[in-house]
C-alpha cells in the first residue's frame, strides 16, 4: 500500500472534460520520452530514458524483471511523476503536467498486468463505461445509450468474442476472457495510443494467436505499445522492438537485430 500518490500533482477538480479532441502528430511521433529519470527512495527505476513511438506503430518492449517497464507506463499514464525529463503526447500535450484522468481522456489507454475489470458489472456495462463519451458527473446522471453507441458496443463485443456473455458479471469470466474484456474496454475508449502490459499472460495458445491477429489489425489505426515476455508472441506481432534494462533503453530494432545484440544476450543470459 502506499504511494505512488506522493508523486501526484495537485490538480483542480473539474477535469471531467476532454482535454483535446485531437492530438497534434505533425511529425509522425505519437509519444516522445526524453531523459526521463525516476527514483524511489534512492532506487533508480528509470535513468535517462529516451523512447519515441510513431503514429500507427506497434512497438514491443521487452526486458528482464526490474528493467523499469511498468514504471515507464506509470510515467506515460501520469501515475508516477518523473523526477526529470520530458514526456510528450503528440506535439503539444505535456504528459508530466496532466493528471491520469486527463491523459486517459486525451487518448492513451492502458491495460494492466493483472486484468482489472469492474467485476460487479456485466460485460456489456463494462464496455458501456469505457465508451468514449462525456464522462462528467452530470452527463452520467443523464446518460442514455444511443443506437449508435449500442451498435459500437455490439461491434466490440463481437471483436473480443464475448457476445455470448454480454449479461454475465465480469467477475465470473475466465482469466483469458477478462484479458479480452479489458482489451475491448480499451477499444471502446478509442485511444490514439494503447499501452498493453503483458496482454497474453494466462491465455491459451489459440487465444494468443487470436490476440496477435487482433493487435496487428489495430495497428495503423492506433499506436500500440506492448510489454511482453512471450517471445513467440512478440515475434508474431512486432516489427520494432525495444529492450529496456536497468531503467534505460539497451537496444532497439527488429526482433532479429535485437536478439543478435551482444549486450542483450549478456543481460538475458547473464555474465
Amino acid at each position: 500500500m502506499n504511494a505512488a500518490t506522493t508523486h501526484q500533482a495537485d490538480l483542480p477538480l473539474d477535469t471531467g472534460h476532454l482535454v483535446g479532441k485531437g492530438v497534434n502528430v505533425r511529425h509522425g511521433t505519437i509519444l516522445t520520452l526524453e531523459g526521463i529519470n525516476v527514483s524511489f527512495d534512492g532506487f533508480k527505476a528509470l535513468t535517462d530514458l529516451n523512447l519515441y513511438i510513431g503514429v500507427g506503430e506497434l512497438r514491443c518492449i521487452i526486458g528482464p524483471n526490474g528493467a523499469g517497464k511498468t514504471t515507464m507506463m506509470d510515467v506515460i499514464t501520469g501515475k508516477t511523476r518523473p523526477d526529470s525529463g520530458e514526456a510528450w503526447f503528440g506535439e503539444q500535450l505535456d504528459l508530466t503536467r496532466m493528471s491520469e484522468v486527463q491523459i486517459a481522456q486525451a487518448g492513451i489507454g492502458r491495460k494492466f498486468q493483472k486484468p482489472t475489470v469492474f467485476e460487479a458489472l456485466s460485460v456489456f456495462e463494462n464496455l458501456e463505461l469505457a465508451q468514449k463519451t462525456d464522462k462528467s458527473v452530470l452527463a452520467s446522471l443523464r446518460a442514455r445509450l444511443s443506437g449508435a453507441q449500442r451498435d459500437r458496443i455490439d461491434e466490440v463485443l463481437a471483436t473480443i468474442r464475448l457476445e455470448g456473455s454480454r449479461q454475465r458479471p465480469a467477475g465470473l469470466l475466465s482469466h483469458g476472457q477478462k484479458q479480452f474484456l479489458e482489451i475491448g474496454m480499451l477499444l471502446m475508449q478509442e485511444p490514439h495510443l494503447l499501452l498493453l502490459d503483458e496482454p497474453v499472460a494466462g491465455m491459451t495458445d489459440a487465444e494468443t494467436e487470436f490476440t496477435a491477429e487482433l493487435f496487428k489489425s489495430l495497428a495503423r489505426k492506433h499506436s500500440l505499445m506492448v510489454v511482453e515476455h512471450d517471445m513467440g508472441f512478440v515475434d508474431a506481432i512486432a516489427d520494432h522492438v525495444t529492450v529496456l534494462h536497468q531503467g534505460h533503453v539497451l537496444a532497439e530494432g527488429s526482433l532479429e537485430q535485437v536478439q543478435a545484440n551482444e549486450r542483450v544476450i549478456e543481460v538475458y543470459l547473464g555474465r
Binding site: 477538480l13 484522468v101 482489472t116
Partner: protein, 368 residues
C-alpha cells in the same frame, strides 16, 4: 492502493437488480402495501384514543424514529454500499440537520425573546449564525446547507488527496468527534450538553398535538419514499454503475477517463444532505437534539444497520435500521441488563456468517 476494502460479493448489485427485474410487479405491490400501512398509521393516530384501531403516540413516534434512521441507513449505503467509502461520521450530518431544525423550534418557543439557554449564558443578542432562524424557509435552507457544505468541504479535501478505505473511515470519525466536542461547549451557542429541548410549536401548530404528529410522520414517510426513489434512479443510471466501478477498481476507472473525485463528492454530499433532512424531521418528533447524536458510537451503529440489512442494496439498509432499532426498543425493556450482549453478538454473527446481510440471506433461500 490495494486496500482490499471492498471484497463485495461480485454480483451483489447485479442480483439486486435481477431481483428487481424478476418480480417488478410483486415488489411494486409490496412497496405500495408498506407505503399504505405507513400512510395509514398517522391517520389511525387521529382516531379517538379508545378506538380499537387507534395507533398510540408511542408507536407513531417509535416507528417515525426508525424511519428517520432508515433514511440515514439508506444515505450511508449510497456512499458505503455503492461507492465503497465507509463513513463513520454520518451522525454529524444527521445532527447538523437536526440542529438547524432545532434552532427554528427554539426560536418559535422563545417568541420574541432569546432562547432560554442564551439568557442563561447572559447573552443579550443572538450570535450571527442564529440570524434568520425564525424563518421556516431559511431553516429549510440551513437543513440542506449545513450538512451539505460541511460534506462538500471535507469531501473536497479528502477526495483530492485520495484518502480512502480505513483512513477515510477514521477521518470521518474524527470529524464527528470534533463536532461533538464543539457542540458540547456551552459557548458555541447551541445549548451545550443539554442541546435543545422543550419545543412548543412548529409553524404555529402545537408540537404535541395529534394532528402535528401525524403530519410530521407523513413528512418522514415522504422523505423515505423520496430517498428510496432517488436511490433507485441513481442505482439504475450510468452514474450508479460508475460508482460500483469506482468501488471495485478505482484505477481502472481513472484510466477509462473518469475523474473519481467528482463522483465521490456528488454522492457524498447527497448522502450528507439526506442525513440532514432525516435529522431535521427526527428532532420535532422525539423532542430533543443534543451533541451525543454526534458521538462516534452512533455513527458506527448506523454502519451496523447497513451491514446487517445488506449493503449495496436499497432495501437492505432499511431492513437493517428497522431490525436493530426494533430489537433495541424491545430488548431494553425485556432484558435491560443483557441487551448489549445480544447486540454485540448480533454484529459478530452478521459479519461472520451473513456478509451480505439479511437481504443476502433471503435471496440465498430463494435461489435454492
Amino acid at each position: 492502493m490495494n486496500m482490499p476494502m471492498n471484497p463485495m460479493p461480485l454480483n451483489n448489485s447485479l442480483l439486486a437488480r435481477a431481483a428487481g427485474k424478476l418480480g417488478p410487479r410483486a415488489s411494486l405491490g409490496l412497496g405500495l402495501l408498506v407505503l399504505a400501512v405507513l400512510v395509514a398509521l398517522p391517520l389511525l393516530h387521529l382516531l379517538p384514543a379508545d378506538s380499537a384501531l387507534h395507533v398510540s403516540a408511542y408507536t407513531l413516534t417509535l416507528v417515525g424514529k426508525i424511519l428517520c434512521y432508515a433514511v440515514v441507513a439508506l444515505a450511508l449505503d449510497l456512499v458505503w454500499g455503492y461507492a465503497g467509502m465507509l463513513s463513520l461520521g454520518h451522525g454529524l450530518f444527521f445532527a447538523l440537520g437536526g440542529y438547524a431544525m432545532g434552532m427554528y423550534l427554539m426560536r418559535e418557543s422563545a417568541g420574541d425573546g432569546l432562547p432560554a439557554f442564551m439568557t442563561f449564558l447572559s447573552w443579550t443578542e443572538l450570535p450571527w449564525y442564529w440570524y434568520g432562524t425564525s424563518s421556516f424557509l431559511w431553516t429549510l435552507c440551513l437543513v440542506v446547507l449545513a450538512p451539505g457544505l460541511l460534506a462538500l468541504v471535507f469531501g473536497f479535501f479528502a477526495f483530492r488527496s485520495r484518502i480512502k478505505g480505513v483512513y477515510f473511515s477514521i477521518m470521518t470519525q474524527s470529524l464527528t468527534f470534533a463536532g461533538m466536542l464543539l457542540f458540547f461547549r456551552n459557548e458555541t451557542g447551541f445549548g451545550g450538553n443539554n442541546g435543545f429541548t422543550s419545543f412548543r410549536s412548529i409553524l404555529g401548530f402545537d408540537i404535541t398535538a395529534t394532528g402535528t404528529r401525524a403530519v410530521l410522520f407523513l413528512c418522514i414517510v415522504a422523505l423515505l419514499a423520496g430517498s428510496l426513489y432517488l436511490g433507485l434512479r441513481l442505482a439504475r443510471s450510468k452514474f450508479g454503475r460508475v460508482l460500483t466501478a469506482l468501488r471495485d477498481a478505482e484505477n481502472r476507472l481513472m484510466f477509462c477517463g473518469y475523474d473519481p473525485r467528482g463522483y465521490k463528492l456528488f454522492i457524498w454530499v447527497l448522502s450528507a444532505v439526506l442525513c440532514g433532512l432525516a435529522g431535521a424531521l427526527y428532532v420535532p418528533l422525539v423532542g430533543i437534539i443534543n451533541p451525543s447524536e454526534m458521538s462516534p458510537t452512533n455513527s458506527i451503529e448506523a454502519a451496523v444497520w447497513v451491514a446487517l440489512g445488506g449493503r449495496g442494496t436499497l432495501i437492505g439498509p432499511l431492513l437493517g435500521a428497522g431490525l436493530v432499532n426494533g430489537m433495541k426498543s424491545w430488548f431494553t425493556v425485556a432484558f435491560p441488563e443483557y441487551w448489549l450482549f445480544f447486540l454485540g453478538a448480533l454484529f459478530i454473527v452478521i459479519t461472520l456468517y451473513l456478509p451480505k446481510g439479511v437481504i443476502g440471506l433471503l435471496r440465498k433461500e430463494k435461489e435454492q
